[in-house]
Symmetry: C2
Subunit: 168 residues, 2 copies
DNA sequence: AGCGAATACTTAGGTGGCGAAGTATCCTCC
DNA sequence: GGAGGATACTTCGCCACCTAAGTATTCGCT
């Protein structure tokens, strides 16, 4: 197979930094993981922009939709899952609410709480973006046979399992 | 093997969004790629913080060091490789220069240009961070046998090759 | 019952980053 | 050789996000 960016990266590394110990295969795997993630991030950004959402608006709608209780959550839950601060979440929700994609409902049983709920419009635009985004992923996946895809999935899972052990 | 975050994610998906067509294997692969990248990003952040660098300071030093001409580049080249704007680059370099990790040298043959050069201190702290960071990667890679690692690398490359075709 | 700690969210102040405009320098072509 | 455009970097105004402090409410303990 022709070389990819990662091959060139690893070759350069070997030339210039002989003294820094490193395993080519390990470096190759993780650099490629990073390149794939980066590519998909950009593809997502394009897809999402096409339907008229910013990256972070889509992300917020997305975690709101893929929960056990789809379309409904507290700001704190969303913030945790998105890896943003509570303050950041307030800002995002302000924007989403103003755009009409979510609404804030005061919780009756605990008046400190707020329930974030997606609106019909929010759900519709999220679905549009999802669809476009899925196409980019499917397109990439076509580089592999079904069998290869299954193997890749199995090996990646061994790695994620370990990473989740490390995180506790 | 026990289930990981991705298994739970895919299961939830199937329960709640039956109507949105999606391929489990494809979704599994790309969600795991994202989870691994996310884990390593955080591991890097911890490693880098330990030696006293912020994330973006390290990133900047890093691309500066792994070039064909290690330790020397123009701001524009760095900005392109880091995916930040020219303006953002100016800001980063201001900080790095103030901290004493790089210096700006006016280019003599073309006085519009500036040459960014790493200092001894900058190189030293980058190496420290590199070392710590490599350990997190090696630790993850130990989840796989050497043979599995090679297979994983081969399959990932098929995907990166396609992604690079798409980018032109 | 009531006081202090904990919880849920919002506001305030500061930082990195972006796009666009600005400044300086170099290249092209008549 | 001089005008117009391209190039390289910086400055400016704005935005999303962070940490820390603030407000409101509920829980826990005596």
């Amino acid at each position: 197979m022709a070389e990819d960016w990662t091959d060139r990266h690893v070759a350069r590394w070997k030339d210039h930094w002989l003294d820094l110990a490193f395993d080519e295969a390990v470096e190759g795997v993780f650099v490629r993981v990073n390149r794939i993630d980066r590519y998909l991030r950009r593809a997502k950004q394009r897809a999402v922009a096409e339907v008229g959402l910013t990256d972070f608006e889509y992300d917020t709608l997305h975690v709101l939709m893929i929960r056990d209780t789809p379309g409904s959550a507290s700001p704190t839950e969303l913030a945790t899952e998105l890896g943003v601060s509570g303050a950041g979440m307030t800002g995002r929700l302000d924007g989403l609410e103003k755009a009409g994609w979510i609404r804030r409902i005061p919780a009756v049983e605990d008046r400190r709480r707020v329930i974030v709920e997606v609106t019909k419009a929010g759900m519709a635009i999220w679905r549009q973006a999802m669809d476009l985004r899925g196409r980019a992923e499917d397109d990439l996946a076509e580089a592999l046979t079904e069998r290869e895809l299954a193997t890749l999935n199995r090996l990646l899972k061994k790695v994620t399992v370990r990473s989740e052990e490390r995180e506790g």
